[in-house]
Symmetry: C2
């Protein structure tokens, strides 16, 4: 993988052109970022090309940060950390990265990235294998939601004294739902997306998302109306169950028919690609429509799709050529090669998504890192509060891992459930908007969420190493 000598040699030969290139690119970028309108004479406005530059920079930063792999860490940790570093440069007066952080286009591509990731992981798995881990996933999810909610509700008054009981409820709720993006990526980096622990974690994270929806409805009903309407909660549960159950049933029925229909129009790779990707994107949209996270929809779509559905499409030219070559060579010796072709031919739809992933994924993780507000760590009160909540957040999910049952590493499952994300931030924002949480508590929550994100990659890598 790595070659220290070549790196050193290459570094020397590279520095002069690198500096030269930077002399051109950086002032240009700064000029453009300042919007001096220097390009009046030119016909290409710079806002879109500037985003091209940002993407190039993010991709390269992400890849350079893969140096953390030499320390035995998953690549995603590097992406997050380099994001944190770049996102904090404004503290020393470099504001080049500020517009990136707030660009809706970059945000969109980041979201698309994580949707593609979960879709990809779904494709690598199947409905059947997920069903097998249904019970442990459900148990891990339930324990992992109830424990942090209760622990923070009851211990909250010791950590942050003087809030209303509603505030503690909110605080507890922020720590319930696992954000599966980070864990999924770590599992991929470690080549473990398909082990039983990974399936339990991802299954539990999907169920978490449904539970999170229910808690959100319950908690906000308690705060706004003082009571919980069973009807509202039932509607949410029904919508989610109909989406997941109905989606899988309808999708399983529909996918081969869609494939047959569209392959009758065109059997090319482009069509196959469009059908596969559109299927994932439509499911992501439908999930959002019923109030679930788009990644849950994309994952479900991935579970449904299997390569067999796409037999009608023509094969990629590579495989085609190989088959011809094999035929020309005399018979028996080439069985081995035919086997290789067979295997890879089936991986063709995974290849599509993986190429898209190469493009969009680093954007998600670097951007996630960029959004970490280092400044929030300067406040001692926030820091102490965060660390205490963090400890509860970690312990409760690790304990939830115990519900994973026999035959799997319970610790791995527990650690995999640690990262919190968007759902927690949404709770925190609601609590702040409703006035039950002040800025200090809000900042503390943001810090906890970011820390759970940063500590999971190394912890999960360590746990997997121990298990080997």
């Amino acid at each position: 993988m790595f070659n220290r000598d070549r790196l050193r040699k290459s570094l020397y030969s590279f520095m002069p052109p690198f500096l030269l290139a930077m002399l051109v690119i950086v002032p240009g970028a700064l000029l453009a970022a300042e919007g001096t309108g220097a390009e009046e004479a030119g016909h290409a406005a710079l806002d879109i090309p500037l985003i091209f530059l940002w993407i190039a920079i993010i991709l390269m930063l992400a890849k350079v940060s893969s140096l953390v792999e030499r320390l035995g860490q998953p690549a995603v940790l590097g992406e997050l950390l380099i994001g944190v570093a770049c996102g904090s440069l404004y503290l020393v007066g470099i504001d080049f990265f500020d517009p990136i952080k707030s660009s809706p286009i970059i945000h969109f591509m980041a979201e698309l990235g994580v949707v593609i990731l979960l879709f990809q992981i779904g494709i690598e798995s199947s409905v059947k294998t997920m069903m097998k881990v249904g019970v442990p996933s459900f148990l891990v999810a339930c324990v992992g939601v109830i424990l942090p909610l209760c622990a923070i509700y009851f211990l909250g008054p010791l950590i942050v004294p003087g809030l209303s009981s509603t505030a503690y409820l909110f605080l507890g709720a922020t720590m319930t739902a696992t954000s599966v993006g980070i864990t999924a990526r770590v599992l991929q980096d470690l080549n473990q997306s398909n082990c039983p622990e990974a399936r339990i974690i991802i299954g539990a994270a999907v169920i978490d998302d449904v539970l999170g929806l229910i808690i959100l409805a319950v908690v906000s009903a308690i705060v706004t109306r003082g009571t919980v309407d069973v009807g509202t909660v039932s509607v949410i549960v029904i919508k989610a169950v109909v989406f997941l159950g109905g989606g899988v049933l309808l999708g399983t029925w529909l996918a081969p028919r869609l494939s047959r229909f569209f392959s009758a129009i065109h059997t090319g790779i482009g069509m196959k690609f469009a059908v596969v990707i559109s299927f994932g994107l439509v499911f992501a949209y439908l999930a959002a429509l019923v109030g679930l996270a788009p990644i849950v929809g994309a994952f479900t779509a991935g579970l449904i799709l299997t390569p067999v559905y796409f037999n009608q499409f023509s094969e990629p030219p590579f495989i085609d050529d190989l088959r011809k070559a094999v035929k020309e060579v005399n018979g028996s010796v080439v069985g081995k090669i035919e086997q290789v072709i067979e295997t890879h031919s089936h991986k063709h739809i995974e290849e599509f998504t993986s190429h898209l992933g190469h493009f969009f994924l680093p954007i998600f993780f670097v951007l996630t890192g960029m959004q970490v507000k280092i400044a929030a760590l300067y406040d001692m009160k926030v820091l102490v509060m965060s660390l205490l909540i963090l400890v509860i957040a970690i312990i409760t999910k690790v304990v939830a891992g115990l519900a994973a049952g026999r035959g799997v590493s319970k610790l791995t499952v527990g650690v995999g459930m640690i990262p919190r994300g968007e759902v927690g931030l949404i709770f925190a924002n609601m609590g702040k908007a409703m006035g039950v949480m002040d800025d200090t508590v809000f900042s503390a929550i943001v810090v906890v969420i970011m820390l759970t994100t940063l500590i999971t990659p190394p912890m999960l890598a360590a746990v997997f190493k121990r298990a080997d």
Copy 2:
């Protein structure tokens, strides 16, 4: 490729689920588009997921429209036409596609799509082969810029009487620059990206872009100051030449060093992908910085990159496995297979960009179609004016093709130069903003540009067929 019976059979089996799916998706989409805030309880806002749905719809529309290939037309024509159809649905009260047309995220992805296309075409060619067509390209470009400018300047008073001479100058200028996106895509659809005619067209289009810049500066100087400043024009020319010449020299020197440097950090596919794509994106940005079209930069970057530069990276797993299989099989018979591997191994970076292209390209062409304002054709005066300008626009470029010299199909080159695009629209917008052009003339120009775009694919396909 196609199978009429299977399509019919599949259509019957498909309609019920399709209608069922539409029953879920369409009301949802409409609901979401209306922003009824139905998702208050859910944690995923619908703006980003809705764009996922749009992309899915665009991808599928684009692919369904590939049915035009059965009529011997290039697929891009189908994409444009389905775009026109969807973009005109508002005329019958269906406004689902309106937000797509104005979404900055969709626009960005469309731009990225055409940048990737030209990058891809650049990769398939090389600096050396482009140099070979340097002289004919330059001649075709110059004739193709001067002819329409003069023709419209002098014939303009007959077509649109009563405008100022500046207005005729502007009108002429709108018809000078070829928009290479459409032609490049048609050539790709017809598998002709690498024939000498294609290289001359693309070379001429790049030079066109530089000439367009110069004309833009000259014309706007005449309008605003009444005189042309030689200094300003020289600066533009120098910037463009430095970018193209210097870019190629510096890039050719830099690319293998960049590759060596980054392969020393990591030799994985992800790194290779990031280096290749970033190289293209940075060039697109730099082109915009000197006032050229980003696609010119991306094309230049593609010319510079050759697979040889990426020898240090590890091979894709497919090829790796095959090599192993070949080694295990006994020696000599497998020479053929090794050859196939060798060929495809080199195509690996083209594969990256082609997968990204599958994703982004249809967005560009469908969106281009959507922006056609059918309503503008209702006005008889506009229509007649457009058709007259269109005839001049076509004839002048076809005549310019004569400058392509011996050994190539001059008609093909001329037809390939017909499409006009962004540069023309920028001129038209400037003319309108400066008050030298009224709404009628502006609409006529927009119609001409869109018609050149729509007629080129079938014309080019016909010309190629004749040449066979």
